[in-house]
Amino acid sequence: MKNKGEIYRISGPVVIISGLNTKMYDVVKVGTEGLMGEVIGIEGDKSTVQVYEETSGLKPGEPVENTGMSLSVELGPGLLESIYDGIQRPLPVLKDSMGDFIKRGVSANGLSREKEWDFVPMVKKGDKVNGGDIIGTVQETQNIEQRILVPPNVSGTISDIKKGKFKVDAVICTLDNGKELMMMQKWPVRKPRPVAKKMTPNTPLITGQRILDGLFPVAKGGTAAIPGPFGSGKTVTQQQLAKWSDTEIVVYIGCGERGNEMADVLHEFPEIKDPKTGRPLMERTVLIANTSNMPVAAREASVYTGITIAEYYRDMGYDVSLMADSTSRWAEAMREISSRLEEMPGEEGYPAYLAARLSEFYERAGKVKALCGKEGSITVIGAVSPPGGDFSEPITQNTLRIVKVFWALDAKLAQRRHFPSINWLNSYSLYTKALGPWYDEHVSPDWVKLRNDSMELLQKESELQEIVQLVGSDALPEDQQLTLEIARMIREYFLQQNAYHEVDTFCPMDKQYKLLKAITSWGDKAQSALEGGAEIAEIMKSSTKDDLAKVKYEVEFDKALGVILKNMDEEFARLRGK
């Protein structure tokens, strides 16, 4: 067998080629147009290839060439602010070369070969370097410095290192063993990049979303899944996380979803400012957009492309978060290809290796000590789109076996326009304990108790609701009526958060604490007023209660809350006096 073969059979994105010497995951150029494909099966002298572009018109007998390379991404300066398709072709470059529609047969480099970057060395001649070490830096965007790393499998003593402006493929460093390093390195997407050591996540990812930070936090380096039926808020939540999370780098993968949503992100992110740095969010973001109507094989690859880019920044010592919307579409791409291969189907037609692929993917999340010695992390948040909103299906179930945080979206809440529609009774976070000390130190020693009490109250509410359904709320004893009211306040004033409100879209930790504290302290005061003989009807008329409803929208929150708290004291003093 040789380096050139020919097409034997074509069925959708799956092409069988004969007479070509291949290894699994080799990238091949298929047909006279040289369409990019990847070997996903080998049998006898035939290899099965998934093709990343439209295969219409392709004919048996057309030539196929093996590049001998695995599907890889280019890593180096210029990743940030980019928007790629599933196989790291920059969409603006594709637009320039093929117009407004995605045609085929165009290859495009992930990183620009034209642009020059100012390389500042951090090592000198004679230094010994190992894989993953930092040899210099490039100011990639105003606030993000890219640290140029020795590729993981390379080491040696520096015999030459340059300084100044270079293109990504220029040699900037030479080792004594003759190895030449560039600012750009390539890495096969299906292979996790190595780290020195995995660590236990112990810092929360602050998202500015009250129900997430407050009740179901995810740790930096942790994993979370957000399953929900259509229209329940997966994308809005993921976009909120991409906008407001306190990570340094964001990788956002639109995997098999809508074109207009990606357009939205593209138009919005350059306009929105990162609350921490004041710089446009786009400057810390890498977007991958392989929409539902773009080739499914590239959709399958998009998730790997994204996580490999995330690993690269993690290896520099950054906290990275990665959103994949939606992992179900990724799994469906696997299913489509698997069924073309006529593989033995597993549950609901998904391939038998579905669970393994999902766990391999989430396994690439984590807090680590990178090869360079710095600490970095990747937090992975995957949307899941269960058919009919039924969580018992294979993707949701297999995902829940892996991830540590479950944000259960609820169609009923979405229909009531309770946003984010995350069900507080079904959701969970397995990080709350590990993060306890962090909250004690950085938020307040009573935060954990505040949260637990609130959860308990919400639990209580759902029990009481069952009774209310039968007898109406007036039949409940007064203290229970009050419990219901406080729970309602927690739900509506604290948990509800409008992503489209210019103030409320992002809520810092300190504000979350003060708001929840104010609500519960109204509850405590009301309780003792009730015990002291005040009328429940009077308590319910409290005007500070109504004020609490709107205080989250105030630009000058602290001031507004201060006034409410003062009025609250007076109000309850009056109530007690009666």
Partner: protein, 462 residues
């Protein structure tokens, strides 16, 4: 002339298997000649040196192993020109109106390439449909795909037609066209559409593709693609704003299921193919606005939910792709309310970018939210009343209960030819909200209450 093969070795459902061919391209268009001289068309689904699998659009009835098969060497294309406007074509793109063949300016592949997400502009131009439940609470914008989720026997056709007649972008006189594609609807339904197009003169600016219930099911797989190709051509080559109405998506999906079964594929949920999401996306995603181009494609398709079940794979997968849905309610229809739109499960995801001070009116969002909340509460109370009786309700609750009835009667209900502008819609909304205690209007800023609440407006006049 391409070579003719007489090497069909198997016919199975809508598929034929042809052997001993020269290399044949994937997705190629195929012409088949029957012994009696009639011809049929098909498309290559799988090709190898040994065997080529072809799906036959007009069905395999009448085919035998003696038929001649020619591979055309190209994928299916639609001949396009501006003269498409005013024409009625079959579900396979042949003239049905006795008019001449289209003299093509171009021939375009019907598969349609994906719009590069980077080339898209986020849709934001408000389309006034004249229907309050849509304009007021589930606003449609140019470039959106917003289907009607309906059920058998419900007036979705009337609603679609009313929208086709009334839809306008306010303050714009830009050229506008309708592309209508029927997939498996009855002759009677299709007559109903055609009569209305003729009556209102809409036909002049419409292109119609008709695949009726007694036309071959396989043809349904290309009908919407022809329609969308025509739409994209008019939008992107002739700067028109095109509204595409595909009806009924459910029939399309049934055809897809039938094809899958014929190919002995492993079926997905409820027998529908595992790739149905991707396939539907290849239709629905052909809507949008492109940077630097004047035209746009907006989709307002009809989908009847089997068994009124929104979790059925057809509405479910659609809902995962479209930018919201307008849900038609059997309950409202039974009450005699037209158009029976249930606003609670309905949603337009692009509404936020299409409304507000510069697009509709500053109070639009607040009014919509408040109407929604009040109606939801009123409807809940109906449930409660059924258990505890009306007398057990507080005064406040009774007001909300009444509100729900008024909302259905005055806001939802309107005439089939009643074209309400957005101001009328909002003012009906305000009139209804004025029936509630003002303290209950928690979703509306005081400044809007001062400005638009009927009670305050009256004060100001005095």
């Amino acid at each position: 002339m391409t070579k003719e093969y007489k090497t069909i070795n198997q016919i199975s459902g809508p598929l034929i298997f042809v052997e001993k061919t020269e290399p044949v391209g994937y997705n190629e268009l195929v012409n088949i000649t029957l012994p009696d001289g009639t011809t049929k068309r098909g498309q290559v689904l799988d090709t190898s040196n040994e065997i080529v699998v072809v799906q036959v659009f007009e069905g395999t009835g009448g085919l035998n192993k003696e038929c001649g098969v020619r591979f055309t060497g190209e994928t299916i294309k639609l001949p396009v020109s501006k003269d498409l406007l005013g024409r009625i074509l079959s579900g396979a793109g042949e003239p049905l109106d006795g008019g001449p063949r289209i003299v093509p300016e171009d021939r375009i592949d019907i598969t349609g390439a994906a719009i590069n997400p980077y080339a898209r502009l986020p849709p934001k131009d408000f389309i006034q449909t004249g229907i309050s439940t849509i304009d007021g609470m589930n606003t449609l914008v140019r470039g959106q795909k917003l289907p009607i989720f309906s059920g058998s026997g419900l007036p979705h056709n009337e609603i679609a037609l009313q929208i086709a007649r009334q839809a306008r972008v306010r303050g714009s006189n830009e050229p506008f066209a309708v592309v209508f594609a029927a997939m498996g609807i009855t002759n009677e339904e299709s007559q109903y559409f055609m009569r209305d197009f003729e009556r209102t003169g809409a036909l002049e600016r419409a292109v119609v593709f008709l695949n009726l219930a007694d036309d071959p099911a396989v043809e349904r797989l290309i009908t919407p693609r022809l329609a969308l190709t025509a739409a994209e051509y008019l939008a992107y080559e002739h700067d028109m704003h095109v509204l595409v109405i595909l009806t009924d998506i459910t029939n399309y999906c049934e055809a897809l299921r039938q094809m899958g079964a014929a190919r002995e594929e492993v079926p997905g949920r409820r027998g529908y193919p595992g790739y149905m999401y991707t396939d539907l996306a290849s239709l629905y995603e052909r809507a949008g606005v492109i940077k630097g181009r004047k035209g746009s494609v907006t989709q307002f398709s009809i989908l009847s939910m089997p068994g009124d079940d929104i979790t059925h794979p057809i509405p479910d997968l659609s809902g995962y792709i479209t930018e919201g849905q307008i849900v038609i309610s059997r309950e409202l229809h039974r009450k005699g309310i037209y158009p029976p739109v249930n606003v609670l499960p309905s949603l337009s995801r692009l509404m936020n970018s299409g409304i507000g001070a510069t697009r509709t009116r500053e109070d639009h969002k607040a009014v919509s939210d408040q109407l929604y909340a009040a109606y939801a509460e009123g409807k809940d109370l109906r449930g409660l009343v059924a258990i505890v009786g009306k007398d057990a309700l507080s005064d406040r609750d009774r007001k909300f209960l009444e509100f729900a009835d008024m909302f259905e009667d005055r806001f939802v209900r309107q005439g089939e030819d009643e074209n309400r502008d957005i101001e009328t819609t909002l003012s009906i909304g305000w009139d209804l909200l004025a029936e509630l205690p003002e303290t209950q209007l928690t979703r509306i800023d005081n400044k809007y209450i001062d400005k638009y609440h009927p009670a305050h407006k009256a004060e100001k006049k005095e």
